[in-house]
Subunit: 487 residues, 2 copies
């Protein structure tokens, strides 16, 4: 019998955030390195989180009226060159197929880094009249970007994502769609992933290549670094012009539609880990946990074991019947203490402990992952476990957002001077959000980036400040922006 967590130890988060992150992913079997440079394997426990969040987001996207489709993985190389900024942004990082079926191709194919080009080529075939609009398409797929430095989930050569692409008759409609999807993402991140979000505009320097405006949902990770969790782009008519998409409007004039694109990726798995994880390991929001409740039976003598396991199985059944993703840990050869540590490390939101005395008294212990120690424990009558677990999971889901928001608020600092900004961003750690007046001049933005490594993460949508002065140059600034070091 052993109660050591494992030979493969997880570095405490408080000691080394980056090492903790990698250790945790490997130890919790969320992902593994692959023999292909920069590509990872999503193992079942990691992929199950992706499936849960994908299915929920898919429902929300479909509710807005978008429908799923699937476009080719390969894109003719010439397509990338049709939109000037787009090619500049993506050409350096594409993978190129030069041979197929044993022969060299006449025109090389690139593996999609994003699908604006091929999708808009098809939109040009499908859009002829204002009656064909709005056209709202979403695609779940893999994309490839040849990244120099990779990090599991956050930046990998191949990743999974959804990319929405829409075309509208009127500019205002497309602008509204861009913000509608930003809000879908914000609510999804907060309600399902329990990740508090700053929703805002990107600066011109941080825009998607080919977009007129890029909006972001930005999160703040446990080490004080920001993470872009999703983006929504207003593309204007750039791609419509490049791909010659035209339609007859109600006045019978041939005009270009207005477009958007928007996406989130498997990077969200990294966001969940880095927002919620602690020294004990992963903490999963119940909405995306593949195991929401684990039952650990505790006993020493064989006759106790039989009674305890029988009771545990009936609890498992009750939980499953209540629609809870539950699991009973019947492993031999490891102690209950080992199991507690193991499931805490794997992030299971709620644990049911049941021993011979519990069976006798008809009660079990429920232990919350979001509140450590005795404060997170409570008792429940055996026949009420499912009801109590349902209520607790809902509480845990909400509490994890509250905890994460408190951490973000504590790590967001109104900064009044450039010196204060530099001090905040000193050192190897993150530094959190610096909330500053910025005049909007890219020169000031570049100075901040070069001297502090902090970039403009978001110009929040809701501005309720009086006008002020730019933290760098002192010129008038009407808006505040959040700067941070970022992943």
């Amino acid at each position: 019998m052993t109660d050591k967590p494992d030979e493969k130890k997880v570095t405490p988060r408080s000691q080394d955030f980056a090492a903790w992150y990698n250790d945790l992913i490997l130890r919790a079997e969320l992902a593994d390195y692959s023999p292909v440079r920069g590509c990872i394997v999503f193992r079942p426990d990691g992929f199950a989180i992706w499936e849960a969040l994908r299915d929920e987001l898919d429902r929300r996207i479909k509710k807005t009226g978008a429908r799923n489709a699937y476009f080719p993985l390969f894109i003719p190389q010439s397509f990338l060159h049709k939109e000037a900024q787009h090619v500049e942004g993506f050409a350096p990082e594409v993978a190129v197929v030069t041979h197929g079926g044993g022969k060299e191709l006449e025109e090389p194919l690139i593996v999609r880094p994003t699908s604006e080009t091929i999708i808009n080529h098809m939109f040009a075939q499908w859009i002829h009249s204002h009656r064909d609009l709005p056209l709202m398409i979403n695609q779940w797929c893999n994309v490839v970007r040849w990244e120099m430095r990779t990090r599991i989930f956050l930046r990998t050569t191949e990743f999974l994502w959804q990319e929405g692409h829409t075309a509208h008759a009127m500019r205002a409609e497309a602008e509204a769609e861009t913000l509608t999807m930003l809000e879908v993402y914000r609510k999804f991140a907060e309600e399902i992933l329990a990740i508090p979000i700053v929703a805002g505009r990107k600066s011109a320097a941080e825009r998607f290549p080919g977009a007129e405006e890029t909006y972001t949902i930005e999160g703040l990770m446990g080490d004080g670094r920001a993470l872009q969790c999703g983006t929504s782009h207003f593309l204007g008519q750039n791609f419509a012009r490049a791909f010659e998409i035209r339609f007859l409007d109600e006045k019978n004039e041939l005009v270009h539609p207005w477009q958007t694109s928007w996406g989130v990726s498997t990077r969200l798995l990294g966001a969940i880990i880095m927002t919620h994880g602690d020294d004990q390991g992963l903490r999963l929001p119940p909405a995306v946990a593949s195991t929401q409740v684990v039952i650990v039976p505790i006993w020493r003598k064989a006759d106790e074991g039989e009674r305890v396991v029988t009771a545990a199985r009936s609890i498992l059944l009750a939980l499953e019947n209540a629609g809870i993703r539950a699991r009973l840990d019947e492993r031999d050869g490891v102690t209950p203490g080992f199991k507690f540590n193991d499931w805490e490390m794997r992030g299971v939101p709620l644990r049911v402990e049941i021993g011979p005395r519990d069976v006798a008294s008809g009660e079990v212990v429920l232990a919350r992952r979001d509140i450590p120690g005795p404060a997170g424990k409570s008792k429940a009558a055996m026949n009420e476990v499912a009801v109590r677990a349902t209520a607790l999971l809902s509480e845990i889901q909400k509490n994890m957002l509250v905890q994460a928001r408190a951490a973000m608020d504590a790590n967001t600092h109104p900064v009044m001077s450039y010196d204060q900004l530099r001090t905040q961003m000193e050192g190897e750690g993150g530094g959190g959000f610096a909330d500053v007046y910025w005049c909007g001049n890219p020169v000031c933005e570049t100075k901040i980036r070069e001297e502090t490594r902090a970039t403009c993460r978001a110009i929040p949508l809701n501005q309720s400040h009086p006008p002020g002065k730019c933290v760098v140059c002192g010129e008038p600034a009407s808006e505040r922006a959040l700067f941070a070091k970022a992943y």
Copy 2:
């Protein structure tokens, strides 16, 4: 007002099966050609069928104990060469990435044509002890095979599929898993896609490259050609040896596991179309139809219109509340007749017709897509439409399988002589299944293929025949086999 189906006419199936197939797919907006050789675009109405069947099959696969994961799109070229038959089968048809991030790669990467190699490379890292077995993984992904002749859904350069990969401690377990999955596929095809299936073994010539035994679910299309709808492979220890997967068994000896792989693809969309479609267009089994019931309001005067549309909307709501995927066709500018034709062409299983007299009498007409003309029509009280539609959809689902099985039976011929086989396979059409005694000798199989273009589609699992004589050579034959021309 127009009641012509469309400028884009669909060739009648009875006139030209291949033209009908392509016309129908384009006209029903299931898919479109793409600018990339051999690749298609899955449009929303086509992709929705894939989503419905994928979600249902995914549930059934998970029930067997397999879990989803995701492995890299790219595979080092050298991996393909580790299993001799596998490389022979796939090397000629791979797409090769030679450049990434602007540089030539040291080792080219192939785009996965199937993932045995990379998955088994990972299995070697994960499998150490008999306690790690069985390991049962499934993956939904895109794969690429450089096909010479392509056909929408049936054979495309890129397609979508699921591929299951399992490893077991004992040979018998892996053999049982191979047949378990074959049976999952058979039931799925019959219950959900309403496609009658012959489940059987493939001949050695038709085996998956690297498998010891390949099993197939074989369907018979409306033109009398067979279509392989899914396969399940017993891989023996071939890949385990090639990728050095070893585990300590219960006797503490280091041995190779026994393995299987199994898959179905977007080819099933073609199978649905070619099994059920008719001269009027597509016919979708209710289980996979994105619109199961369409409501067509019929009226002439504006005041009638208001009453009819109001009633139609309340029926829509009732259908949706009953969990039916329903749709109300409120289009202006086209006649009810146009709408009838249009939705028949798109394959919607059930139509609700409602006019002013129906509103007055509190009744509507229900028209089944699977039974043409008056025989398929019935009346239902307005407040019972949802209940009646639910029952009818279930009947339609069953009846479509009955109809398709009758067509397959009528097109399956016990053949007693080689002359009879040749006659059956004459002409450009399909010819159906020839049910023959075959001695198992590849020489006889080759003769049949070369002289009649029919291949061995399946050696059915259930053989209840006395021994006979090979239809080609007259030698003793213990088994009967189904030969057919195939897609």
